[in-house]
Symmetry: D2
Subunit: 350 residues, 4 copies
């Protein structure tokens, strides 16, 4: 915490601030400047609440310095975490492909897609049995019946199942039938659900909220981890902005930003971010190029008949073509990085 | 739904669209224009999913027309709803004042504030026993013990209790101890919680999500109402924007926007919106002037010692002063409106 | 500037930062903390560029502290500035009403509106001769002929003329014919135009850019003032957000935020902010209640035939009604404030 | 334009709308539906102003359908435009690299960078002689002296010069010394400047405004083209959002969105978008992968001493490394696309 005093702050106002810092058990460092005094605080273990200072006489500003997260941090664990999902890994250096329909509609629909997904070499299958829909009158998912179909996909095609839970009951069911519990964007700050998910032993795919800052996103992961479940995979799926050409704005810059502070893997969802079929391929490639650990892609055997989000689903043919492109791209990226491994690690002035 | 064809769309592409409209059980109306053909759809009862059309050959755009809400709509109930909360109303034409601390910390703290709030003539008391905090390491509220203190406030001071529930267990407890169940901004699209809240018989104060559009906000209310609980009060508490001078941007324009389409009452929360003590008074006045049905205000006996959100809490003295100002303002608004009742009702060209 | 070192920063990395601070002519204050060292900088007169430090080895963050503005600041001039526009003032404690059509279309149209505006007691008339339109194919304004009509409004009705200039040539013409030069939102960071406007002797009405932060807005005013023209009036006209129920989101919280740091007057434009006729009245009232120094309102004799922005214009009848309401509201606010003058000036803990 | 009537609209209100449509010279198509009537408009050549209808009795909504642009559109020119800049092309299928320092500081600084840029195989050099700075007290650029240094770069290194103009005088000078006139983000809706730039015969690099929608961006290009200059290159450089981990949010989804409607080339600026050195490489790769026609990158011989935006500049070594990676990536993308050329062109249901 840094307290910036007003230019006309009196000595007794400065002393008052130092006194309160002392009472809170911290140390205050007054730095008289050309036009105003600033007071640094040290001795705090977590972050300090600016509210203690912001409205005191003579105080112009109280600026937070210490970050409030611990378990997600590279300070704690410098190397990247590889998370085991079923019998495969996300974050181990390979590119994880998670593909499948938005919603489970029928066994037939799901198996058709699973066949294509498995044939392409992907290790993960997605599909929703509980669907968070903006309108209460829209299709809400098939529930446990849907989960049973997904479990069958694992048995038949050897794919690991990633599927969303919207509440505690859903977490219990997904823990039973699936391999990875997805927490959706709208529940990213449903703190009760995060804590509950933190008590399961299945890995969690946590989607970024539509208006979540980097810190809020990481702290949502911290909620899960602080309950003992360290297997968290982050997912960027677009943020809400003024831009109207895509459903949301895919914020790829969060990938390097997460890498800089956290050891958790991060994947990209180009389907939900864009909301448009024609944008999925270019955004998927960009997600790979920016360094994501995986992609989550919607595929539907007949998109124009989908009960949910058909506009953005790829056809099986389109998915196959995308999967091929991604493999070429990924090899090129690996090749180019082994040629110039020093770029990111070398400090600017070293 | 309006389908806009590309300028170079062929007749067979147009026919294909009309055929699909027919298959879905709707009627298509082709309107050949100067440069392109548009196709209107009628016969739909709810809104039509653009996904059915967006990727068809020759289609440039699919524009949604019908709004997906029913129960919140003035089409259903033209006059404004007055919601009974305990022994008083919100939305009956008077201005509802809901005041109290952010979090219940102790009986002493709460009673000190309750005394001031009751003396000012307010009918509602707020205070959180379950606190949604961005960090898992921040104070999370006193739980059921806090609710018991709030119940005592009702007994001692005759104030009706508004307090937040974050999950199903919380809804049960608030139903037992409180008078109005608050659903916080971060849970506005926690659809499982909305449905559960829709099954209680206590009124719901629904806060707008940080990045919720008008339609999403109204549909969240629709979720509650579609379960049978029609007593919903909407609350604007600031949205997330690029602006950094306030914690959030208070979007007062949503008040007239809600009035135009919905019969539900809407209140303003200037404390959470601004995050700064010095902004609460001017934003509160603006909320009254824009026509809100009430205000929800944070008051703390000693803001710089608050365990939660102290920076924005008013002191008891400040609250008293604000309450007096609001009364003068409200009378002036009532007077000015009775002088010019025709402004809003009269159509522009009538 | 506060430099936050990484937890694992070495002493030689800390020394390197201190050395660079010294080279730049500032003083560095190292504050070793529990987990990391922070380094405060004093001795700087303006703000320090974080780029000097951000990429140095061992540096986690460089946080800007000093604000880069001078002339707009209350540090320089604690009392509010009243700006003379023609023969009347904006910012002198009265509420300035600036009304008129979006665009000057014809003498007849303008005079009809001017008559109503003058009769209501307003002192300022608005109307555009140069119109910044999103499309090059939309009506661009009548140019100098339009300005001549506005000059006639001043002669006939005694109203002071506020009108927009889009370039240097426009500034020269508005200086000749008008009383106040408006710089529109889209030109708020057209720095060449700001400098040019800073060299005129006519007051400037500066509209906030659609995505301007408080600092950027104030620094745009600083550009004008740094050229010698201190007569700047700020105008909030809505910002761009995800919300789609209004054309822009009126950010009333900027009024108290400006008051806290600057002596410049600030007015509200509810017409451009909302883009809808039905929202103008409630937003105008909110603008007055939040403490703005004035309102700028669009009025058109026949809105549905307007060449520009008709959807938001008030009819003459609506304007008359609004003006009456505003007067009642303003008296009530003055009365309530004289009763409780201590609210804002009194410090929380004094 | 589609007019949606209220459910309770009377026949005479519907007739009134049809009458006004007729008066404006268009044709109205009434489509009576289950709950309400919609009225389509055809016969309009440009877009219709919703203001004509929005406030009429019985009207619920007026929805714009026709896009207001012409010259930028693929309807006019289906194949992509390749723009000649000096002696090289942007948009011809190769990837254009435009690199150089943010600001021209000295001949020495510029030549050091130019040597690296030319050696890497790039054809374009960037560097600002006129700098749009948020604060009037920040370095504003070297003006004409800076342009002379850039002209020398062309002579010595054979690089084509891209540099910003902020006003008409600047356009004249850049036309004289440079090869491509950059219009910065803050001037994207400086319509006077756009028109002036439209009258030069040098190509224009138009940066997207911080809060510009796709339509506004394209219409800004349309302003330039409507004056006769068809050589416009679009540039995405990040938009303003709530996200605070990067200076702006790079919106890569605008690349496929532009491709869908316009023939103009589009490039990506990862340096300004991110504002951080460590983000430039991953965002640059993403820009290439998403299909941009080029990159514009800041390079400085000694970033921590830069007078402007040093935090985001690459060192010469970093640039060399990036350039190598980009080449590998671009070949892989070309290879993968020639394998699956049908992805984008094939319609979903063909």
């Amino acid at each position: 915490m840094l307290i910036v005093m007003k230019p006309d702050a009196t000595q007794s106002e400065i002393d008052r601030v130092l006194e309160i810092i002392g009472k809170l058990g911290y140390r205050g460092h007054a730095m008289p400047g050309e036009t105003r005094t600033a007071i640094g605080i040290t001795g705090n273990k977590g972050s300090v609440d600016p509210a203690h200072f912001e409205n005191l006489p003579g105080v112009a500003d109280a600026i937070r310095v210490t970050k409030p997260y611990k378990l997600i941090s590279k300070d704690l664990r410098p190397e990247k975490s590889a998370i085991k999902v079923g019998n495969a890994y996300i974050g181990d250096g390979s590119l994880a492909m998670i593909a499948g329909p938005c919603a489970v509609e029928s066994a037939d629909q799901v198996f058709k897609v699973a066949e294509v997904v498995a044939a392409s070499g992907a290790r993960f299958f997605r599909g929703g049995a509980f669907k968070p829909r903006t309108s209460p009158y829209a299709f809400q998912g098939k529930g446990e019946d849907g989960l049973k179909i997904l479990a069958e996909v694992r048995d038949r095609f050897g794919l690991n199942i990633v599927t969303e839970a919207m509440d505690e009951h859903g977490v219990d069911l997904v823990e039973k039938y699936g391999d990875c519990i997805q927490i959706g964007a709208r529940n990213m700050q449903n703190f009760s659900l995060l804590k509950y998910a933190g008590q399961t032993r299945k890995p969690i795919l946590l989607k970024r909220g539509l208006s979540a800052t980097l810190d809020e996103f990481l702290l949502a992961a911290e909620y899960i981890m602080s309950e003992g479940n360290y297997d968290v995979i982050l997912c960027e799926r677009g943020i809400r902005t003024f831009a109207d050409h895509a459903r949301n704005t895919l914020d790829i810059s969060i990938v390097p930003a997460i890498r800089r502070v956290s050891h958790l893997p991060v994947i990209i969802d180009p389907s939900h971010a864009s909301g448009h079929n024609y944008m999925v391929e270019p955004l998927a490639k960009a997600g790979v190029a920016v360094g994501a650990d995986g992609l989550i892609i919607e595929v539907h055997p007949c998109p124009e008949e989908a009960l949910c989000d058909g506009a953005q689903a790829l056809t099986p043919d389109q998915y196959r073509s995308l999967s091929d492109m991604i493999k070429v791209l990924q090899s090129a990226l690996n090749a180019s990085e082994s040629d110039s491994t020093t770029f990111n690690t070398k400090e600017l002035t070293a």
